[in-house]
Amino acid sequence: MRLRAEGLRCEGLGPIDLAVEAGDCLCLSGPSGAGKTRLLRMLADLDPHQGSCYLDGVASARIPPPQWRKQVALLPAESRWWGVSVADHFPTDCLLELSSIDLPDKAWQWHVDRLSSGERQRLALLRVLANQPKVLLLYEPTANLDTRNAERIEALIADYQCNHQAAVIWVSHDAAQIARVSQRQLRIEQGRLLTTSEAAA
């Protein structure tokens, strides 16, 4: 099992047990305030919590936090940019191509202030993939994108998921998208996890 969580709990949320296989995608939905964001934050070890998480069977406590967060990568709803240029936010040895998100090569030198919200969103995903994570925690990665860009992003994630055998937890409200990308769906309501359907094999 690539990612496994046992008895994950914080105030008003959980306990949650959850597991995702390598190469699988689990979709998570639920009303706002139900705990989707907090669950992803606990999995990325950004908030204090009880219970444990395992990556390929290794407990998070045995992995230094920066390594854990590189491998269990969270893409938040809103991306933040602290440097001047796009390239400032990527590892210097980044092998990824900007063409994969439909941007020209010279965009590495673009100022982040100049980016449109769609460009920011696509770059935020690429920035996460640059760390070669084993688990992707995605919070509505296509929320503000037009159909064409949303399709590109879905394809990019699917490619990555397949090529790197990554486990994906995908928060989405779009039923069509959920059906397209995921093998399993779960709902969170009032801090509890409910299974809505098993894989439609």
Binding site: P48, P65, P66, R69, P76, R80, V128
Partner: protein, 265 residues
């Protein structure tokens, strides 16, 4: 030196009251704050005058130590008194007091023993005013830098966490804000050193000259004091920012803003 009478001081006090009345038009709170601060100055300085008089006649390291500790504790409290978002559970006072102890006490001791060479080394005529000047300045540096650090951590939390999510260590994620906080703490003393003698005549030197000292001698002492203050403020600020930024994260390098007090206006 021309002696000041109580009447002379009363005239100056009248000016402060005038200022309070004027500022009451802008904000009522401000007038109250000015008056309370002025009252505190009067009472505290009169008291310290008496204490120093006693201390000078009964020279004993124990009394000097007691006085020094008292000054340190008050400074520690003052550091946290005006923080918008200080550290909770006594950490603010602890960090402030510890960093001032490390810097001001060490620098004062060093100056007394290695530079001025007073006899005995704890001679209160030197030790207490020196420590007072160092504490007073270090206090500003520590207070400003801690305030800046905690404010920045709160306001830029999304950015700091974005860095953590991408696998930066807590140290990397906070680096820019630490640098900024240290610089903010050191700007006052750098300004004071740069402007000394040109824009402003430093208080200690002015006092010595008013008391009839030879200006060049007074200047030499002032230079020494400026250097000591710069070193003390620098060390104190670095220590405070260093310890406080560790406290902002836990053992799993999570940003712990729950360790900050909620906003105070």
């Amino acid at each position: 030196m021309t002696h000041l009478s109580a009447f002379d001081l009363a005239i100056a006090a009248l000016l402060v009251i005038l200022l309070a009345i004027l500022s009451a038009r802008v904000q009522r709170d401000l007038a109250v704050q000015i008056l309370i601060a002025a009252l505190r100055t009067t009472v505290q300085l009169l008291l310290v005058g008496l204490v120093l008089k006693t201390l000078f006649t009964h020279v004993h390291w124990g009394w000097v130590g007691l006085m020094a500790t008292f000054m340190l504790l008050v400074a520690g409290r003052e550091v946290t008194a005006r923080q918008a978002r200080g550290l909770t559970r006594g950490w603010g006072i602890a960090v402030g007091t510890l960093s001032m102890f490390l810097s001001s006490f060490a620098v004062t001791l060093f100056a007394l023993i290695a530079i001025i060479g007073t006899d005995p080394w704890y001679a209160p005529q030197y030790a207490i005013p020196l420590l007072g000047m160092l504490l007073g300045n270090t206090m500003s540096g520590v207070a400003i830098s801690m305030d800046r650090l905690t404010q920045q951590a709160y306001q830029q939390r999304a950015e700091i966490e974005a860095r953590l999510m991408l696998g930066q260590s807590s140290r990397e994620a906070l680096r820019d804000y630490k640098r900024d906080a240290v610089r903010a703490g050191l700007i006052p003393i750098i300004n004071a050193m740069a402007a000394a003698g040109v824009v402003s005549l430093p208080g200690m030197m002015t006092g010595q000259i008013l008391a009839g000292a030879e200006p060049v001698e007074a200047v030499k002492y002032q230079i020494l004091i400026m250097f000591l203050i710069a070193v003390g403020t620098g060390l104190g600020t670095l220590a405070a920012v260093g310890i406080a930024s560790r406290r902002l994260f836990d053992e799993r390098q999570r940003l712990r803003l729950d360790r900050l007090q909620s906003a105070r206006s």
